[in-house]
Structures are given as structure tokens and as C-alpha cells.
Subunit: 327 residues, 2 copies
């Protein structure tokens, strides 16, 4: 296993410290229990908290800041955060208007956030993200997995919270964005979890896993590698089937890298996906291309579509200042 | 070779088109000859052009925009752009105050930019970046290589051009930033050039290349892998020896990923480097952590230090709106 690492135990807290050092005017670190929060806390606004296993960076810690998350709770690599991290983060960032807990749909995360929820005295609601259309149930999940669409949900709901939406409005908006969002990914290689030190799954030199999960969970099928335009079509098919879009519908297209795929390939995928969607009579109104929801060093990518309405476009365009999304 | 690709010939132009699609309000594409430029061209300002082989994305195309580059000319993967790309880009973005050509020090790039320079009628100067302290001469280079410090040069000089500095001031500032900047990298794995389809170099399962170039060129030594803090010390040693900094000197620290290393590890490197530099009595005033100057999917990272003065800090902090650097 070749990684920049001192010890498996120190990786997550030391990496969080390194992130906060690089953004010292924007972020602050709570070391025990571990969470990252906005240095200047919001006043009189709903607070947004997310978290999950580490190894998906920049998700979630890279999206803490103005107009997005108020705190992020990183668990060990691919392991849910502990409930006391979530509860402590909620107490830190609560500004009297309630706390929205944004949870990717994995059994461990749901369990930790549920226990944390029972510990909280302030108003709070939970928003579940389950945008992965690849499989209905998975290794660590009942129901669909939450993947790259989480960034879209966090951005749009974050903008609403920043503008003064109340807790129930934020939750309803988030549910609406999640229901309008569908994702599917493909992997060429496995990631290597530091604690395991070996690849999570084996894959042949000319194979790819269609519908892979962001922890290397199995997808729909193992296929021989093929040209990029055919791979894009394989991903868009199930996404479009799920969303059932009317012709002319306006979309956000998010091409997400899993960590080990170069940007030159992600931009190629973007061109191909944009063309294929336009050929089907759909309009791409906004784009996001890059490594946003990763699986450590996994080579591969996912495509996410969100069917936009005018409110979502306005909130997507609203200013955001975080380490990894900024405009 | 597992890559998202349709054909080797189409990769660079199609990827450039995908980048421009995702940033249609900011960027425009010139297809023949290929270059990317600001959609809204600067008026009455020095224009900045860079370029080089593809495969280092986001360098350079991801830094076209307000406050940085006016145009970028991508060559084939790891191959210098053709002179006519550079000359056409210069004619496109020239706003009557002259053009500064920013060139990483590789023989092929120097040659192409020199030929382009001979083709140009407007005032223009060339700024050479050679920040890599690993080796004095290399496979494709006479003198030191230009690597991740290029982003620092492009940002600071771009801000000066945006503020109205003349061509000679931009060139002198760029020379000063380059002279104040030193970098060194390490690789765990080789990249795979699409045209070659096999790794550029072989490396053992527990070896790393200290001082590697961004095309996989050999560095100073092949060493067994070691803990991250020892690797950071191996990189910082030659950098600090080169810069000869006085105690208390203010620095910009840039931890750059080569493409295949997860962000969680880059942030760990940032924490370690920041601590080691502080222990030597140096002050880190600004940070940049992420995949900025990559080598396709190479696993590895580099560290860059720039010794700052007050003008550089002001220019670094000035607004920038590009696909990959924005504040």
C-alpha cells in the first residue's frame, strides 16, 4: 500500500487539521469529538450538518462555509461518524432556528445520526440523500445509496438556509432536490482502505464495474471496458429512466471523479454527456465537473443529473464560499 | 490501459470543449488552431498566455479567466503546443498593451514559444518558469524544470496585469516570483500516456521516486516508501536549501497532488509541512492545497514554497475567477 500516511489512527484527525490550516479564516476545528465548522457561526439561521465516513473528500468537510454546510463530522475511512461527533457539532452551530442533519443513505450513517438525533434538545430534522439509481439495496444499505448528488443537495439547501428559510422549508426543499436527482457511477479500479491495506475488490485489467458504489460496493454488472461514449450511454440510461424527464427539461449535469481519474478525462465525459443529453432534447443549464465525491484513489467517475426548477437555479447560483465550491 | 477515452486523437480537443461547455459564461474555445480564451476579452491590459502539453490539468486551461490567464494553448499529452496555436492565441487576446508568454522550462515548450514569438507583430515578452529544484538538467530540459510553481506565477502576474501593470512590470514581477519559488515532488506510481498505453516508468511496490518530474522524468533517487513526515522532510530539505530563507520569512505553501493521490492525503501533507516549517521559524501566510499541476493519474505530490513580499500577498489575494482557482 503506497500512501502518504504516518499512522492509520492519525490520518483522519491530522487531515482535518491540514484542511482547516489551509482555510484558517473560513474554518475551525473541534478536535474532541472531531468536527469541522464555520469559524464565523451563522446567526438566526437554520444550521446544516452533514458527515459520513472519510475517504470521500472533499465531501463533506470541503463544503463547510458560507452558503453550504455549517459543520461536517468525518468518521474513520468509510465508517460512519460517532453520534457524539454529530451531537457536539449540532450544539456548536445551532443558532436557535434548528438544525438540519443531511445523511447519505447507508445503514451505519443512518444509525449514528438517529442516535445523535435522540441526544439533541434543539429543533432538528433529518434529510436523507439516496440518489444512486444503480442498485436498490447494497452491501451497507437498505434502499438506494447516497452518492454524488449529496453535493447538489448541500449546495441548494445551504443557499436556502443562508437566505433565511426555516427548518421545515429547508427539509422540504432538500427532499425535493433529492427526488429530482439521480446518479450512477463506474469504476476501473478499486480503492485501498488504509486499515485494510489491500484493494476492496478485484477487477480484471480490461473490466469495469458499472453502477459501483462509492465504497467499492458491487454495482449492476461487470463489463469489458469500452469507448467513453458507450460508457456515458450506459450511465445515462438508468438515470434518465429514473427521472422520467419531459422534453426540454432544464438540468444540472454533474460529472464527478472518484479520485484516480484525471481531469482531462472528466472534461471529455462532460462533453459526451452534454451532447448525448442535448440529442435527447434536454437542456443543460448548469454544470459541475470535478472530483467532489470520491472513493479515495479509485479510478472511475459518476454522472449525476438534477431536474431543475427556477428556485433551484437561483439557489445553485447563490454565492458560496467553501474550500471546494466557491463562487 | 483503462481510461475514459474515445480516440487518442480526439482526447485533447474534446476535453477542451468539455471544459468550455462547463464554463460557458467565462471561457470560449477556438477549435482550429486549438486554444481556450476568456469569453470577455480584457481591454487596455497586458494579456497573459500560457500553454504546454496536456495531461497536467487543471494547468493551464483551468486558469483562464478574470485575474489570471487570458488564453491557454494545450498541446497533445505531454507534448508542446504548436507555434501557430500560440501565435493565434496572442492575436486573439492582445489588447494593445502587449502579450506575456508564460513558459515552463522544457525544450519542446521553449522551442514552440520561441518560434511563435518570431511570428508575432505586437509587443511581447517571454517569462520562463523553472521552479523544480530536484535536478539541474532532465530528460526533456536544459536547466531546472517548470512545475507546480507555475500556478503561483500565473496567479500573481495575472492579478498585476488585471490591475494595469505594463508588460515590463509583469515580466519583472514574474521573474521575481519565479526566483522566490521552489518545488520538489515524489511519485508512488507512473502515469500512463494514452498514446503509449503503458506506464512511463516502472517502480516497485514499495518504492518511490524522489524528485520526479511531472512527465514521470527521473528525480534524485529511488527510495523505499516511508512515513509521510519523513517524505515531507525529504522534499522540504532541498527546497529550503535553494531558497535560503531568513528566519520569520513569510511563505506561501502549495501542496500539489499529481492526480492519483486522494485529497485526504494532501491535507495530511499540508499539516505536516506546515508544522515542519513552523518548527524552523518560518511563517506560513497563505496555503494552496489540491490537484493543480498533475501528471495524469500519477500517485504522488509536490511541495512548493514561495517567499512572499507584501506586493505578492496583495496580488495573491486579489479576486480571481477561473474554473480551478476562484476567490
Amino acid at each position: 500500500m503506497k500512501k502518504f500516511i504516518n499512522s492509520v489512527d492519525d490520518l483522519v484527525p491530522d487531515s482535518a487539521a491540514g484542511l482547516v490550516m489551509a482555510h484558517e479564516q473560513l474554518l475551525a476545528l473541534n478536535e474532541e469529538p472531531l468536527f469541522i465548522h464555520r469559524r464565523v457561526l451563522k446567526q438566526d439561521r437554520v444550521a446544516l450538518i452533514s458527515g459520513g465516513g472519510s475517504g470521500h473528500e472533499p465531501l463533506h468537510s470541503g463544503y463547510v462555509g458560507v452558503g453550504m454546510l455549517d459543520a461536517a463530522c468525518p468518521g474513520l475511512v468509510f465508517t460512519a461518524p460517532a453520534p457524539d461527533q454529530i451531537a457536539a457539532a449540532a450544539r456548536c452551530v445551532d443558532a436557535g432556528r434548528g438544525v438540519l442533519l443531511i445523511v447519505k443513505n447507508y445503514a451505519g450513517d443512518c444509525n449514528s445520526f438517529q442516535i445523535a438525533s435522540d441526544m439533541l434538545d434543539m429543533d432538528h430534522l433529518t434529510l436523507l440523500v439516496n440518489d444512486d439509481v444503480a442498485v436498490e439495496n447494497s452491501t451497507h444499505t437498505a434502499g438506494r445509496r447516497g452518492v454524488a448528488g449529496t453535493v447538489i443537495v448541500e449546495k441548494i439547501v445551504g443557499a436556502a438556509a443562508e437566505a433565511g428559510a426555516d427548518l421545515y422549508e429547508c427539509k422540504a426543499l432538500g427532499d425535493r432536490v433529492n427526488a429530482s436527482t439521480a446518479s450512477m457511477g463506474v469504476a476501473f479500479s478499486s480503492c485501498i482502505v488504509p486499515d485494510a491495506a489491500t484493494p476492496t475488490f478485484d477487477i480484471g485489467p480490461a473490466e469495469m464495474e458499472i453502477g459501483v458504489g462509492i465504497h467499492g460496493e458491487p454495482g449492476r454488472q461487470r463489463r469489458p471496458t469500452m469507448p467513453a461514449d458507450k460508457i456515458v450511454a450506459l450511465l445515462l440510461g438508468p438515470i434518465l429512466k429514473d427521472l422520467q424527464l419531459a422534453a426540454g427539461r432544464e438540468l444540472l449535469l454533474h460529472v464527478n471523479g472518484f479520485g484516480g481519474t484525471p481531469l482531462i478525462e472528466l472534461h471529455l465525459l462532460n462533453k459526451i454527456a452534454t451532447q448525448q443529453l442535448r440529442e435527447q432534447g434536454l437542456q443543460i443549464k448548469r454544470w459541475l465537473v470535478g472530483n467532489h465525491t470520491t472513493s479515495l484513489e479509485m479510478a472511475g467517475a459518476s454522472i449525476t443529473l438534477t431536474a431543475l426548477d427556477d428556485e433551484m437555479v437561483t439557489l445553485w447560483d447563490a454565492p458560496v464560499v467553501t474550500p471546494s465550491l466557491r463562487w
